[in-house]
Subunit: 344 residues, 2 copies
């Protein structure tokens, strides 16, 4: 038998004032117009009854549910939990809670889940799983739902994005490999439908040219997904192409892990014979041998900043919001890079 929670009406009855007075007394921003005595009396009664505001009712009236939606591909992918915590760290102090949904990177799921969020009247959406272009998401944003994309962006959409400096990450890594003496550097690229995959690939090409590297077709393999299995497939293709790369610059850590397991399976020493690098610096990476040299992105921070951005959009209809906020990345040198064989 579910006891029904006390309402404003109960407090009103208890204190002998009108419910609207109670409402005003309990709301900091309208409290000013109420006598201190009355406020005190009301607060006491509220406390005593164990009153908790019913945000569903308030939400219906104000169309503010104090809830935001978070869309991610898969919380099981270890780069997302820190993002969620970062988001939470920005939202919770302001009284916002988050409804999280996993899209599994499926457009159909994604579209259904946007509706799940909207039906629940979320005040805004953080989208960490967006495709490079997605009319439905554009439409949601244009409808007026505050929306910010994380890690990825929809280009020319005017939708604010909080991303990592992917190009800089590739630059740091290519310079690092170059400095170690590598000249035949291959790239395992991420899916090009994702802005991260595309940007990192483009950066690889551009900066490779800057460095005067040879970049034949065999230097690049493109993964369909950011997974270990795709890393294995691409690494195998790269090794079989006859071009004999001395280093594999992978578009993320999971691809790199896959690449390393192929090397191990073939008895090719990493890093002595072939160097491998990752991107993201996911948790636990420093416990896996060989410890992967990678690019650290600020996962928590990206979540926090996106939360703050969303909050500003929710709270102020015409806040000035940068279309893209780029967070710096850093190179983390570990054990998966060595000079190429024969290099003194």
């Amino acid at each position: 038998m579910k006891k029904s929670a006390p309402t404003l009406k109960d407090i009103a009855r208890e204190t002998g004032v009108h419910v609207s007075t109670v409402s005003r007394a309990l709301n900091p921003s309208t409290r000013t117009s109420i006598t201190d005595d009355v406020v005190k009396k009301i607060k006491n009664a509220a406390e005593q009854l164990g009153y908790r505001p019913n945000r569903v009712a308030a939400g219906l009236r104000t169309s503010r549910t104090m809830t935001v939606g978070l869309m991610i591909p898969d919380i099981t992918n270890s780069i997302f939990p820190p993002i969620l915590r970062g988001l939470e760290s920005a939202l919770e102090p302001m009284g916002y809670a988050v409804i999280m949904v996993n899209t599994d990177s499926l457009t159909s799921r994604e579209h259904a889940l946007v509706d799940v969020l909207r039906e629940r009247g979320v005040d805004g959406i953080i989208h960490a799983a967006v495709l490079r272009d997605d009319p439905k998401i554009r439409a949601v944003a244009e409808d007026g739902t505050p929306l910010v994309t994380v890690n990825r962006r929809i280009e020319n959409s005017g939708i604010p994005a909080v991303v990592n400096d992917d190009a800089m990450g590739v630059r740091l890594m290519l310079n690092h490999l170059y400095d170690k003496g590598h000249r035949r550097i291959a790239h395992i690229a991420g899916p090009v439908m994702l802005s991260t995959g595309e940007i990192r690939l483009r950066a690889f090409r551009e900066i490779g040219v800057e460095l005067g590297l040879d970049l034949p077709d065999q230097a690049i393999a493109t993964a369909d997904r950011f997974s270990e299995a795709e890393g294995e497939r691409c690494a195998a293709a790269l090794l079989d192409s006859g071009w004999n790369p001395t280093a594999l610059l992978c578009a993320n850590d999971r691809l790199a892990l896959g690449a390393i397991s192929v090397l191990r399976a073939r008895g090719i020493a990493c890093p002595e014979e072939v160097s491998v690098t990752g991107f993201n610096d996911m948790p636990f990476l420093d416990m896996i041998e060989p410890k992967l040299t990678t690019i650290r992105i600020q996962q928590f921070e990206v979540g926090r900043v996106s939360g703050e951005t969303l909050l500003r959009m929710i709270l102020d209809d015409n806040a000035e919001i940068a279309e893209v906020t780029t967070l710096p990345v850093t190179l983390v040198e570990r054990d998966s890079v060595a000079p190429p064989p024969g290099h003194s």
Copy 2:
């Protein structure tokens, strides 16, 4: 400028019927009492206007928000994401969404977050972070909020729990170590305020006695938290006690990882000189050397079953719910266990 979404009223106007008719036509369980023609007409109009039900309004009326709360210590701990996915797999097909909060195992946060969930009118709560006893949580359950605890339980509370067979896990592991020839087996226990810590410790003692093991005080070190750092501290204490254990049975994987790093730091070979075992089989464990022998718990499954249980409680006030559902565990043999030194 946020366009206001179409409502039942809009559809009613469009089709020339009353809103209650529209409501009934759109709700599968009341649809039967409406003429097929009218239903069709209404559905068309709804489709055409892009109607999405406003669950906030419906929730206010029915006190069913189609939302459940999930409380976990920290989503960053890799055993929780699969639980969340399992939960989602049970809830989403039934139209339920989940609001997740991280308690960081802090009672104060936990209590505040329960209110966050209740204010939002969640239809039920999955609690994966419960302490062994917690009056506030008991109170919530007694108030009539459907509640199920996961992984841990509040004893003698009547609150349904979905847990892993912790005692069996300890038994499998102790038998395994015993069979390999170990006789001086130490235990790094988890926090005793958590039912997992307590149960695994008790099982260790009981089964140790069954096997005729010597179990002096020096055989057990108790961690304050399930963390690598505590694993290190406890392992150091065990190694320094003079009892010279040949195996460290740890109450979870993170403790085991800490223990292994202490061994490594001291130049003690694992598993050749000291064997170490974990519990949980968290993701990526199979990529970390030495690959940890551990107990696999069914993380996804525990989430799914708890979701189904909660659903039954929500949907049927007097459903028969088992107070505890125990899921089986399995031993995963990897490379961190060997016979003790000198054992033929």
